[in-house]
């Protein structure tokens, strides 16, 4: 990879510059993870090192080019659009009431005069280092005390260029006490280029805050998508995160949630659908560091021909973190003989007053369900397609916003084979 001194000319404050330098040096020492690393046992990304990515961004597309082919039909309060790795203000709208909340990074580096706030956690991750060294786009979202942002904030990252770009967005979300917000990140663009998106989202939630965070990834089938989310939750804060990986040749989500204070809670849900020679990997780590914290994970994976789905959910209950409840659910379907699912729901528990459970299944559709539909006159193909869709669709039950749920449901349906067979039935 063309990892050279590029980070030197990148924007930022002097604190950010120092972090970039540190991150770059650490990364050069550590290198990209290999499959010898336990966390990367099922996912191989070392090929990224061979590709000569362009870190410098391509010229911004015009507003017209940026026209989105498959937007999420939601009434977003604000929408930030990024095209080919650069902020596209002409395609973005920031709601009047959001002006003090949503800040595109490109024009707001002053917000980071103390550097990236969550850099410790991000630095522990090899791809977090890469992002810190090279990021030059993204946003800072800060919600003040007691304010409730009732319309979602949408960030679109579109890849429309045929260049081999390495795009490194950084999103920082800060919720002050008792505030709430909903943030949706969509990665799209049917570019056929072997581009790489490596996103880092830092979430800092103060006491009593509530965040809904939805990640929708539908990049081109040659794209590599890696994304690290770190969240730190204070007393009684709640994080609800949904991860939907539909596109990309290789997608990897690292989600690290720290429940730092009493009463904090997190729910994580999602679906990953590596259907057409794709690879999707969700790596989740939840740290219960304080008493009375709860977490719930619910993921559904469907793997099609020559595809591989990976789920790794890790719950750590630290010493003295009593009265914990943690649930994990990983259900997976294999659609083809050349498909593979690897799932690893882990528990590490150092306290005794806990209720932790996990369940994992890998298999095919239930014969009885198929029989039920067939006995009602639905042919086997349609019945299979319908049940496959229903299997993935149940991961949307956590989403309260109906418009968003419907939109995601349609996107999931379109990704699955034979969807037209049952759609005709309805």
């Amino acid at each position: 990879m063309a990892f050279n001194g590029l980070y030197k000319d990148l924007p930022g404050s002097s604190a950010v510059d120092a972090q970039r330098k540190d991150a770059f040096e650490r990364f050069m020492r550590a290198g990209l993870p290999t499959r010898r690393d336990e966390d990367w046992r099922y996912t191989e990304i070392s090929a990224l090192g061979e590709i000569d990515f362009r870190h410098a961004v391509a010229p911004p597309a015009t507003a017209k080019q940026a026209a989105h082919h498959d937007p999420l039909p939601i009434r977003a309060g604000s929408k930030l659009t990024f095209v080919n790795g650069r902020y596209a203000p002409e395609s973005s709208t920031i709601n009047q009431s959001h002006r003090m909340l949503v800040h595109p990074l490109e024009t707001n580096w002053t917000k980071l005069s103390d550097g990236f706030p969550g850099h410790e956690r991000v630095f522990a991750h090899p791809l977090g280092l890469v992002n810190t060294a090279f990021t030059q786009l993204g946003a800072v979202i800060s919600i003040p005390k007691n304010s409730h942002v009732d319309t979602p904030i949408l960030l679109e990252f579109l890849q429309l260029s045929d260049d081999t770009l390495a795009v490194q967005p950084r999103l920082i979300i800060e919720l002050a006490a008792n505030s709430s917000a909903e943030v949706i990140v969509q990665h799209a663009g049917q570019s056929s280029a072997t581009n790489w998106t490596n996103m880092v989202t830092e979430i800092h939630q103060s006491a009593g805050s509530k965040l809904t965070f939805i990640h929708v990834q539908e990049q081109g089938l040659a794209a590599t998508h890696t994304c690290l989310t770190t969240a730190a939750l204070k007393r009684d804060a709640h994080f609800s995160g949904g991860y939907f990986d539909l596109g990309g040749k290789l997608a990897r989500n690292d989600i690290e949630i720290a429940l730092d204070e009493h009463g904090a809670s997190a729910e994580l849900f999602g679906a990953f659908l590596p259907i057409q020679s794709q690879h999707a990997d969700n790596h989740i780590k939840i740290d219960h560091r304080a008493p009375n914290t709860t977490s719930n994970e619910y993921f559904r994976g469907i793997a099609g021909p020559k595809s591989r789905g990976v789920f790794n959910g890790k719950v750590i209950v630290h010493k003295h973190a009593q009265k914990i409840s943690a649930q994990q659910r990983s259900d997976n379907l294999l659609l083809d003989k050349t498909a593979e699912i690897d799932t690893k729901p882990e528990l590490e528990i150092y306290a005794d007053d806990v209720k932790c459970s996990h369940g994992a299944t890998v298999g095919e559709l239930d014969e009885q369900h198929l029989f039920y539909l067939q006995s009602r006159g639905i042919n086997e193909l349609a019945a299979r397609a319908l049940l496959t869709f229903a299997f993935a669709n149940s991961s949307l039950d956590f989403i309260k916003d109906e418009a968003l749920r419907t939109a995601l449901s349609e996107k999931i349906a379109k990704r699955l084979p034979q969807h037209e067979k049952w759609e005709r039935l309805t």
Partner: protein, 482 residues
């Protein structure tokens, strides 16, 4: 509550009941490991050349390996050069012809352990091949087994009398390069058990071996090989206790099972080696490689283990389900108290069509114990219609202990079904209250609940073992709550 806490304290302080040392002169090689030591062991046992070479090959490969560090264990560095690799009771050369010729001190040791070697063996219907340190000293029921055509002897005897079987099967399930401890064992193993069940024979009795570690500074490296030929059946029991000692003792055994067409092997273990004292000093390091190969169609291998001893347990009895319709089972209770650590579980490798496996694992942590279940279920593309069910539950007693679960599930077959469930919790106040209300002491209540928790595994044990296991649990657990 105050007097109760006192009772609890007493029970917690209870010393290891099997802690004593029999004083016997040892014929020992100087500590250290090199090719000469391996040649010495091999020569001492009068082994054929192929075995000496096999040992050397293992040793040379071991030199290139690093001790595994992936387990959830905290292991003090082991000085392999400080271990003496050969210790045999001195009068082993003129092997005893009957029990009368056995050193009475040995018999005394067995007596203290309550091994049914004498008449008790006959009463219990158990043939005992007792291993004192590294060399077998007595084997009973030879005749009865010989009538059935069953070969049940020490590994050294098998090398002398059945070299063709050793050559054919040794290292085919656990190759010398398999892992660090297996390679070490392959290089320096001194003895163990060998079982061969001929075609169509149902072994007339349960086979049992009691191992006992005795000499200080002597790692014990057993090698067990069990072959069940077509249509045969055998149930094998392994149980261990060890004398109290301050230094860590390394124990790296290898057990290989081979089940051919329609054969069934049931392997049960109760492991109660010295776990170290209340401060975590001393105790056995138990690094064991156990693997069964279901080679034949409809073959079945079932592992049942009750692990209550050892300072550190690193053990994954596994099944390679090669045969069509083969079955693998793993039932485990692992208990860690004081400063014990356990990283144990199983691997089920599904290769054959319609192969099935069941994993039931119960982990109990008390005191400062750390207990990890680590398991792999792998469905290969050839394993059409394979089925796995895994349940691993952990029970926590006390707020200083840890319970961990690391299940790996890898499936490459759409028509295979894999299910995994796990729970971790402590004994609920409701359960305790219910029992206390009916007049049970807290101790009895905890015992009862824990035994209920382990029942699914205990019922898989042969009768004699089930009783022993329950008693073991009671002794090891009482006082852990309070």
């Amino acid at each position: 509550m105050a007097t109760e806490s006192q009772d609890l304290a007493d029970i917690v302080q209870r010393k290891y009941a099997h802690g004593f040392v029999t004083d016997i002169e040892q014929d020992t090689v100087a500590p250290g490991l090199n090719e000469d030591v391996i040649r010495f062991i091999s020569a001492k046992k009068g082994e054929p050349e192929f075995l000496t070479q096999w040992r050397l090959k293992a040793y040379r490969h071991w030199l290139t390996m690093r001790a595994p560090d992936w387990a959830h264990l905290n292991i003090a560095p082991i000085d392999y050069q400080a271990i003496s690799y050969y210790a045999a009771p001195k009068n082993a050369d003129d092997a005893p012809k009957s029990l009368d010729e056995v050193d009475p001190k040995l018999l005394e040791t067995y007596e203290k352990l309550g091994i049914p070697l004498h008449e008790r063996a006959r009463l219990a219907g158990v043939a005992v091949d007792a291993v004192f340190d590294s060399v077998s000293v007595a084997t009973t029921f030879k005749t009865k087994l010989a009538e059935a055509g069953v070969i049940f002897c020490s590994f050294s005897e098998a090398v002398q009398n059945h070299p063709e079987l050793i050559k054919k099967y040794l290292g085919t399930v656990v190759p010398v390069r398999d892992n660090y401890f297996a390679a070490l064992n392959s290089a320096v193993f001194t003895d163990g058990s060998f079982v061969y069940i001929p075609k169509g024979v149902r072994c007339p009795m349960e086979l049992s071996t009691y191992f006992r570690i005795n000499a200080a500074n002597t790692g014990q490296f057993e090698r067990t090989l069990i072959i069940a030929d077509e249509g045969s059946h055998v149930s094998y029991l392994e149980g261990c206790t060890a004398p109290m000692r301050d230094e860590n003792q390394l124990h790296a055994a290898v057990v290989e099972l081979v089940a051919l067409d329609n054969a069934e092997i049931k392997y049960s273990t109760v492991q109660n080696w010295y776990p170290g004292d209340e401060e975590g000093r001393g105790g056995i390091y138990n690094f064991v490689t156990k693997r069964g190969d279901c080679r034949g169609v409809r073959s079945k291998i079932s592992w049942t283990q009750v692990e209550t001893g050892s300072a550190i347990t690193w053990k994954y009895p596994s099944c390679v389900l090669r045969g069509k319709d083969s079955v693998g089972e793993f039932y485990s209770v692992a208990l860690t108290n004081n400063y014990q650590q356990a990283d144990t579980g199983t691997k089920m490798i599904h290769i054959g069509e319609n192969s099935r496996s069941t994993i039931i694992s119960k982990g109990i942590s008390a005191g400062h114990g750390q207990n990890a279940y680590r398991g792999l279920v792998r469905i290969m593309p050839t394993a059409a219609g394979a089925r796995n069910y895994t349940q691993c539950d952990s029970l926590l007693l006390g707020d200083q202990c840890g319970a961990h679960t690391f299940p790996y599930i890898e499936s490459r077959r759409p028509d295979a079904r894999v299910e995994h469930e796990a729970t971790t919790s402590k004994i609920s106040e409701d359960q305790l209250f219910y029992c206390r209300q009916r007049g049970l002491t807290e101790e009895d209540a905890v015992n009862m609940i824990v035994n209920g928790f382990c029942k699914e595994v205990f019922k898989e044990l042969p009768m004699e073992f089930a009783v022993e296991a329950q008693n073991l649990m009671n002794v090891s657990l009482e006082g852990a709550v309070g």
